[in-house]
């Protein structure tokens, strides 16, 4: 069971460091996973240097989706927007440090999908965006 839900996941799920809503913000994106109703909203402020100055997520869902969102936000703060646009599935898996079946992978990738679809200005995020 420890393989499944590493302490870090439970920790970030129970006590997220970046949960909230930034006001004002430069970007705001949201989407949900229709399979399970998980919902993620991300708000973001960009610095003059083109790097992520501040970010936060809001939403509800399973531990995997919420912990991933928190870990993702943590990982992008201070990063150039252009680099953030390149992030993919592996980044999330590295953050979580566990293996996931196809269904749970969708939970894990929801926040990244929301983030990238937002940065690319797409209305709806295709799965291929985070492959």
């Amino acid at each position: 069971m420890d393989d499944l839900y590493r302490e870090i996941i439970i920790e970030h799920y129970k006590n997220p460091g970046y949960k909230g809503h930034l006001e004002p913000h430069d970007y705001a994106f949201e989407d949900s996973n229709p399979l399970c109703g998980d919902h993620i909203e991300i708000t973001l402020r960009v610095g003059a240097d083109g790097k992520v100055a501040e970010a936060a997520f809001d939403g509800h869902g399973c531990a995997i989706s919420q912990a991933s969102a928190d870990l993702l936000i943590e990982s992008i703060i201070g990063q150039p927007l252009e680099d953030v646009k390149q992030l993919n599935k592996q980044h999330i898996l590295d953050l979580l440090g566990i293996d996931l079946g196809p269904v749970r992978l969708k939970c894990a990738l929801l926040s990244l999908k929301v983030l990238k679809a937002g940065l690319y200005g797409m209305g709806e995020a295709p799965d291929s965006l985070v492959e």
């Binding site: 499944l4 399970c36 109703g37 869902g61 399973c62 531990a63 749970r104």
Partner: protein
Amino acid sequence: MPINPQQVRAQFPTLQREVRPGIPLTYLDSTATSQKPLAVLQAMDDYYRHSNANIHRGVHTLAEEATALYEDARAKIARFIHAPSARQVIFTRNTTESINLVAYTWARANLQAGDLVILTEMEHHSNLVPWHILQAERGIRLEFIPVTENGTLDLEAYRALLQQSPKLVSFTHMSNVLGSITPAAEMIGLAHQAGARVLLDGAQSVPHFPTDVQALDVDFLAFSAHKMCGPTGIGVLYGKADLLEAMPPFLGGGDMIKEVKLRSFRANSIPHKFEAGTPAIAEAIGFGAACDFLTSIGMDAVAAHEHEITAYALERLEEIPGLAVFGRENPHRGGVAAFTLQGIHPHDVAQILDSDGIAVRAGHHCAQPLHEKFGIPATTRASFYLYSTKEEVDKLVDGIYKVKTYFG
């Protein structure tokens, strides 16, 4: 005779499996699909190893054997649901295709813009989306029998809707989420009095308790083999003969025709009219074997066993603080318990249970509008069948306590 679960379980190879070394499978997901007994696997394997041939038009021995096996299977299924004749049993891929067949043929031939179709709020997506498509295409009207807090259908509202002269009432005989068994015979009688036809979604009823289409007087009945010990890839649409005969064909191709000219064709008689191309032959044979298997155990015994297991499960689940069973109040229910656990997402519940080999579903179970109505985005669902045991229920309960500790 009451079911002896150990004897029954011995016939299901998957139930002997370990999910991971040392962790046996506790399969509580039969509402999604059932496990398959050896007799069914054997029947299909025998067909492939011995009599495999294309059917209906062949003169050679294998083709005749295959045709006889295929048509015998149809007859077995007809008997299983007490159909007046085997030609009223049409093979489809699954319940979903059966419902779509009615929507594409009977409904398109009989429904005009403004015509009313009555559904319920507890329908599976398979009994919603075909009607959404028709609504968009034809402008038919859809109304829904509400589901009450206790998981039953609001029959007063149904009676009121029937005043609006519906053409069709289409509803499930048992909810795959609430477990509610609907009063189908009564509802069909009322629909007929109002001049409407009735399509019954039997995906969860035909596998779990005796079905008599003549006693129900139902116009159409849809069900799937894979939920009743049979193979994937095959389902049935039963229909009243006069309706089926009057319906236009659905898919065009080999076997569904009497005669083909370059620019026209004449359709075959039922059931063939609705079975275009090479059918799922092995699967039909497996389906027939599944009916034999269930009949040998007795559908009354299956229902009684599930009733006992479900009562025990509800009792045990209710002990758990923070756990709420969806539609708990309805006494008239089948072997399904969908629940929420305070503060823990169903996906997490299901995944942590899986680490102990306990297989349950998490999500909206293809009944999104029902979940939405009650403001619950998802539930965890445990479901039972003839091979389920009280020990499995105990494992489930232990597992849920573990989940709670984990997130505690």
